[in-house]
Amino acid sequence: MMNGNTTMRVARRRNLGKALQLVFLSLTILAVLVLGVLLGNIIDRSFGISAIEYANKYEDISADGATLEESDDTAVIETITLNLRPRTLDALEAEKPLDERKRSELLEILERELLQPSVVRSWSLMQSLFGREAIADELQELWPDAVPRWRSWVRAELLLGSQSMDPMYAGIRGAIIGTFITILITMFVALPIGVGAAIWLEEYAPDNKLTRFIQTNIYNLAGVPSIIYGMLGLSIFVRNLVAVTQGRTILSAALTLAVLILPIVIINTQEALKAVPQSLRHASLALGASQWQTIRHHVLPACMDRILTGAILGLSRAIGETAPLVVVGASTFLTHDPTSVFDRFTTLPVQIYQWTSLPGAAWRNLAGAAILMLMVLLLGLNSFAIILRNRYRKEMKA
C-alpha cells in the first residue's frame, strides 16, 4: 500500500518536473526567437516600396514641354540651365561642366535640384511583397500623384552620402568616418593604459590597501551608466580641457569613450593574466629573469589572444555607444566630413538616433538601413576577433 502511494507521488513529481522543464525550454527558445525577430524587423524596414511625389513635373519645367523620355541629353541640359539658380549652376559647372556629365549624373541633378522628389509613404518588405493590392489602393486614394518605386534603403548612396535634410539623399558617410576616426583614437588610448593597468594589478601590485582600493574602484567604474561618462566628457574634455581638445570634437568623443571602456579592458586583461599558470612564471624567474622579462617574453604571449579578444569586445561596445556621445556634443548637421581630430563629428549610432527621432516613416526606414550597416560592421569586427584569436592559438601550439 505504501509502495503504491509512493510510486504515485514520485510519478506526479516527475511529471511536474517534466512540465517545468518544458517551460524552461520554451522560454529559452523564446530568447532565440527574439533575436530572430529583431533582425527580421530591421531587414523588413530596410527594403520596400516607397511612394514618391515630385514637387515639379519634368514636362512643366522643360524648355520645350517634352517629357523626360523624349528628351535627349542636350535637351536635359537645356532644361537644367533654364531652371537652376545661377549660383548653383555655376558651382556645378565649376565642378564638372554639364556637357561632360553622363546622363545618369544629369538625371541625378535634375531630380535633386528641380524635380524634388519626396517620400510620402513607405512600406516594409513584407507589406511590399504580400500586400501589393492594398498598397495600390492606398496610393490611388491618398496620393494619386505619387509614383511607387521599389527602393532598397540600403544602397551605395547610403554609404557615400552625407547628412541631409532629405531622407532620399541622406547618407552615413560622415557618420562612418566619424566612427572610424573616433574608435581609432579610443583604441590607441584605452588599450595601452588598460593593459598596463592590468599588468600592474596582476603582476606587480603588493597586496595592500591601495591595491585593493584601486581594484574595487575599477569594478565600480565598470558599473557606472554610460551617460555619466558622457557628463564627465562634457565637463572635463569639452569644457575644462578645451585648450587641448578644442571643444565638441572627435578628440573629446574619443577620450570619453576611452575612459568608458577602460574598466572593461582592465578587468578582461586581468582575467587573461590570471589564467596563465604560475609554473610558467616560476620557470622563467628561476632562470634569473627579471619580472618584466618574464612578463614580456612569457606571460603576455601566453594570453595575448585573450587580451586581444577582450580588447575588440571593448571596442565593439564603444562603437555602439550613443548616449555619451550625444551629451559630449555630436553634431546634428555636418557641413563637411571630418578630416582632423579637432573637427565636429557624428558617429553611426548617433546618426541612427537622430534619424529615428525625426518624424516620418522615411527617416525610420533610413535608420533601419543604417542599423543594418552598423550590425554588419559589428559582426565583421567580432568575427575578426574570433579569427584573430584562433590564429593566435594555432601559432602558440605550433
Binding site: 529583431l38 530591421i42 593597468a197 558599473g223 562634457l234 575612459v259 550625444v326 527621432s357
Partner: protein
C-alpha cells in the same frame, strides 16, 4: 663583501623601474576617472542647488524649468516604472534560462544558447530602441488598442530593456548556480529527489546570494539605460504611473536636453548634473549592495 657578493649585488635597473612606474601610472588613471566623475557631478550640482532647494528637487512632482519648477520625481518615477517592467521580463526569463543552462541543458543546446545570449547582449542599445519604437509599440497598440497605448510609452521601452538585460541575468545566475558543488546535488539525488526538486530545493537556495546579486545588478543596469527610453518612452517629463503613457526618465531627459542647444552655466545645464548625480548615487548604491550581498551571504553558503 667579497667578489661573489659583489657579483650578486643589486644593480640599478632603470628600465625595470621605468616600466614599473609607467604601469603604476596606468593603474592610477582609473582613480583619476573616479575623481573626475565625482568632482564633475558634485561641483556642477552644487551650482544648481544654490538656486534650487534640494528638498524641492527631490520631492517636487513637476519638472518645468520655464516656470522654475525643478521637481525630479516625474523623472524618477518614469525611471522606476520602466526599470520595474524590464525586471518583470528579465528576471523570470533570465532565471529560467540560467536554470536550464546550469542544470538541464545538453552540450549542443549550450553551444547554441550561449552564443545567442552573447549576441543579444552585444546588440547596441540604439538598435533595441529602434526595435521598441517600430515593432513593440505597434504590437502593443494593436493588442491593447490605440487609445490606451500611446505612440510613446513606457511599456515598450520597459519590455525591450528587459530583453537587453536578460542575458546579464542569465549569465550571472548561471555562474552562481554552476558554482554550487556537485556533491550537494548528489546528496539530494541520493535521497530520491527529482531533478527539479534538487534544483529548487537545494541548488537555488545555495546560490541565492549570487542570484540576488545578479538581480540587483540587472536593476542597476536598467536604471542607467538611456537610448531605449530616449527613443521609445517619450520626450517630456510627466508624473504618471500609467505604463502605457509617455514619460521621460532621468537618462532620457539628460540626453534630450544635452542634444539640443545648451548654454554652459545656465540653470538647465546645471540641472542635468543634479539629475546625473542622483542617477549616479542610485546605481552606485545598487552596485555596492550587490557586491556586499555576495560577500556577506556568499561565504555562508560556501
Amino acid at each position: 663583501m667579497d667578489s661573489i657578493g659583489m657579483a650578486l649585488r643589486r644593480r640599478p635597473k632603470p628600465v625595470e623601474q621605468l616600466i614599473r612606474a609607467l604601469l603604476f601610472f596606468c593603474a592610477t588613471v582609473s582613480v583619476l576617472t573616479t575623481i573626475g566623475i565625482v568632482w564633475t557631478l558634485l561641483s556642477q550640482s552644487l551650482l544648481f542647488f544654490r538656486q534650487v532647494n534640494p528638498f524641492e528637487f527631490l520631492t517636487g512632482t513637476v519638472w518645468q524649468p520655464q516656470i522654475g519648477e525643478f521637481g525630479v520625481l516625474p523623472l524618477v518615477t518614469a525611471t522606476l516604472i520602466t526599470s520595474l517592467i524590464s525586471m518583470l521580463i528579465a528576471l523570470p526569463v533570465g532565471m529560467a534560462i540560467a536554470i536550464y543552462l546550469a542544470e538541464f541543458a545538453t552540450g549542443k543546446v549550450r553551444g547554441i544558447l550561449k552564443p545567442v545570449l552573447e549576441v543579444l547582449a552585444g546588440v547596441p542599445t540604439i538598435v533595441y530602441g529602434y526595435f521598441a519604437l517600430t515593432m513593440v509599440t505597434p504590437a502593443l497598440r494593436s493588442v491593447f488598442g490605440q487609445e490606451t497605448v500611446g505612440f510613446y510609452n513606457m511599456a515598450s521601452a520597459g519590455i525591450v530593456m528587459g530583453i537587453l538585460i536578460l542575458p546579464l541575468v542569465a549569465s550571472m545566475a548561471e555562474d552562481a548556480l554552476s558554482a554550487v558543488p556537485q556533491s550537494l546535488r548528489n546528496a539530494a539525488w541520493a535521497m530520491g529527489a527529482t531533478r527539479l526538486e534538487v534544483t529548487f530545493g537545494v541548488v537555488i537556495p545555495s546560490a541565492l546570494s549570487g542570484i540576488l546579486a545578479a538581480f540587483i545588478l540587472a536593476l542597476s543596469r536598467a536604471v542607467g539605460e538611456t537610448m531605449i527610453v530616449a527613443i521609445a518612452a517619450g520626450a517630456g517629463p510627466k508624473f504618471t504611473l500609467n505604463p502605457f503613457a509617455a514619460a521621460e526618465t532621468m537618462t532620457g531627459h539628460i540626453v534630450r536636453i544635452s542634444g539640443g542647444d545648451l548654454s554652459y552655466d545656465s540653470i538647465d545645464y546645471d540641472s542635468l548634473f543634479a539629475i546625473a548625480l542622483l542617477l549616479f548615487v542610485i546605481t552606485f548604491g545598487l552596485n555596492i549592495l550587490s557586491r556586499k550581498i555576495v560577500r556577506r551571504f556568499g561565504e555562508a553558503s560556501a
